[in-house]
Symmetry: C4
Subunit: 230 residues, 4 copies
């Protein structure tokens, strides 16, 4: 069942390690088959050393019920499901505790757009969620984490800002598939590091010009893109 997607999601999880985005068993990647309405995700607390495609867990998007797999799905699964339901174009989702993105999350501050490296991927800042309310934490915490992310985005196209910083927690990133989501999580970590270094050099560094932000984002995205091979 969904052999190709399980392989892709497994590989994307292993790529998290290769990209230096996770330590220990932290972090998880999922992918979705929109036609079948099924999500494939990493099992909970399994070591990356031994992870194989057959360990991946398959769930129904609508109900969240496991339809294949002997292991429990990642404890963050409810967050992934909420995001897939709200963000219709998203094909893969990543959660990590990567160093610099998590440091921003702990600082509870959105990552401002300071340069073209950032603007090539995000059309504006990388937003930080509001603090969760005690009743959200006490209840269906992981699903509520998804709700808070969706609330943060409002009408913003999630493909124009392919990641978020969950306050006091860490980043979620996404893309058109699991591989693309990992790519965006890697760029996020680089951009988060760049921004923290710029602030260290000049603490009052402000956002880049909006004209330059638009130019770089639209040079790579949208109908007038001219970057890369056609």
């Amino acid at each position: 069942m969904l052999e190709e997607l399980k392989e892709e999601v497994c590989q994307a999880n292993l790529d998290l390690v290769k990209e230096g985005l996770v330590i220990q068993t932290f972090g998880n990647v999922s992918g979705i088959d929109r036609e079948k309405g099924l999500v494939v995700i990493k099992p909970s607390g399994v070591s990356y050393d031994v992870m194989k495609p057959e360990h991946m867990v398959v769930l129904e998007l609508a109900s969240g019920k496991v339809v294949e797999g002997n292991l429990r799905p990642s404890s963050d699964t409810p967050t992934h499901l909420v995001l897939y339901r709200a963000f219709a174009n998203v094909g893969g989702i990543v959660h990590t505790h990567s160093l610099y993105a998590t440091a921003w999350a702990q600082a509870k501050r959105s990552i401002p757009a300071l340069g073209t490296t950032h603007a090539d991927y995000w059309h504006g800042d990388i937003p930080c969620t509001r603090l969760m309310r005690p009743e959200e934490i006490a209840g269906e915490y992981e699903a509520k984490t998804g709700d808070v992310i969706v609330e943060t985005f409002g009408n913003t196209d999630p493909m124009h800002k392919p990641s978020v910083i969950v306050a006091s927690h860490g980043p979620f990133a996404w893309g058109k598939d699991a591989h693309d989501a990992v790519h965006n999580a890697a760029i996020l970590e680089y951009v988060a590091k760049l921004a923290s270094l710029s602030l260290q050099i000049v603490p009052s560094t402000g956002e880049m010009q909006s004209e330059l932000l638009d130019k770089h984002f639209l040079r790579k995205h949208g109908p007038k893109a001219y970057y890369g091979q056609k």
Copy 2:
């Protein structure tokens, strides 16, 4: 004598190097056999390149006397012994000069709980000891180091905060065995780095919400844990 424990402790010492927690001959790991009342620890000043299980030194917990081994035990042995006597559930202890944990120790500041990565392991801040008194330094310095750690913990369950920062010195971490202690020392280093980066980004960053701290610690520890495979 205690062949299995000596192998485990030796391996744990070598894992310190693999985890990037030590340079040169700094750092040491010990393990305990509670039934026999014997502690196994790294010898003093021996290079990691040539370290083997048979180099490990065996001591009596009660008396601190060496009962096996031709080499002198780590000069920090008296600290380990004091901790094993006071912390009845601890099965392994690690001391390192790992970079970020030691930087906090030199800054003489407890590491505040700023995010869920921290809360998954420590139920509150990672405490920094008080300065030692001149007579403590002049006397049985290494044993007094242990006493100051025990004083710092008071009635706190050491398994709810599996490490400490010794002021102007460096970290000690522990766990249910030597391997687990090294794991906690590695997470400590990551958490110490995360916290220093968050403070660099927003110098006034305060502690995370207590509800979120509780949620994450109790999700992984205690009777209601639901993280990982059962």
Copy 3:
């Protein structure tokens, strides 16, 4: 056509990866054959894993027209062409988003000469360009980026300061050929990191003495150089 130069430019692009100056497909290197008036540059958005000399694109310096190659040239090509036209001694040019140099660019601050490591390569600060005007960004953006760099240098000999920081963007570096340009880009990154660390240690750190700056630059460059083997 220009087989040797294509090989050199391809190798220089791969060296960017080896030196840790690029992630993903960011970054590009070009080289020039002044006699023939031809420039060789990396294609746009091609992965470093599969890059070969035959992928390099050949353009006319005067017209900017592609004269060989099936792939589109790097989107930064117009910047390279403007610099080759203005800086007659330059034989190779590098653009990267390397971490520390880009952090300075985002902070919109010239890198001050703080020590002899810097002074061995730059005879003064590493200048940051002015912000680009909206009409420059909206128009021939990449060519205008080159114009702003040339404006920044004025009468300064570009070989006395073999790099620039483009505000809110990143560094360009150059040298007598493509290989030398990569070398200078690597030293730039090191010097940018050194300077940011010095400012972190002492935020008010000022420029080094001009006598020491002159001594080190002239010890390695110009008619009285005595560093290295003759």
Copy 4:
């Protein structure tokens, strides 16, 4: 001639690379044969990839004249000679532009003793030299660099503080032989990094207690040392 010492000095130069203390051709190590009054040092500007014992240059300590070797000695040779003449117990000297030690040099600030890692090697701060005078820079610059280091130490035993930070330049370290000097240069870099991180966490961090400084230095050095195997 001095085959053993040439091999040792060559190996120590290569160890600089292995320890991550040099980039490019920066950095040099020398060793001395006190009985013969001869110094062995790295040649100037030769790549580490191809460096062999037979490339090492042999000079007379008293006159500074080359007595063996076809290559020019390191341009920093006069500094090494001045230090060997003034510091009678020193058997090996290292100069690097290692990252954190150089960042302190550029900040023109002595590295304060903040913890036991530091105190295990230096009995007090790691001093920064005064600025050199224009006439010192214009004249025999490299020899004057040595003079300023000697002036900085005054009556301090150089084996109690086995390194110095030359203002706006970088570190020199030494030891009982070339290998020991490289070891001290590596610890210096670690200690410099630790101190900069502690200052980042708590900018007002002050020196450690003098009792603890004495305890740790004397635990490893001098007649009452009890660290390591006897």
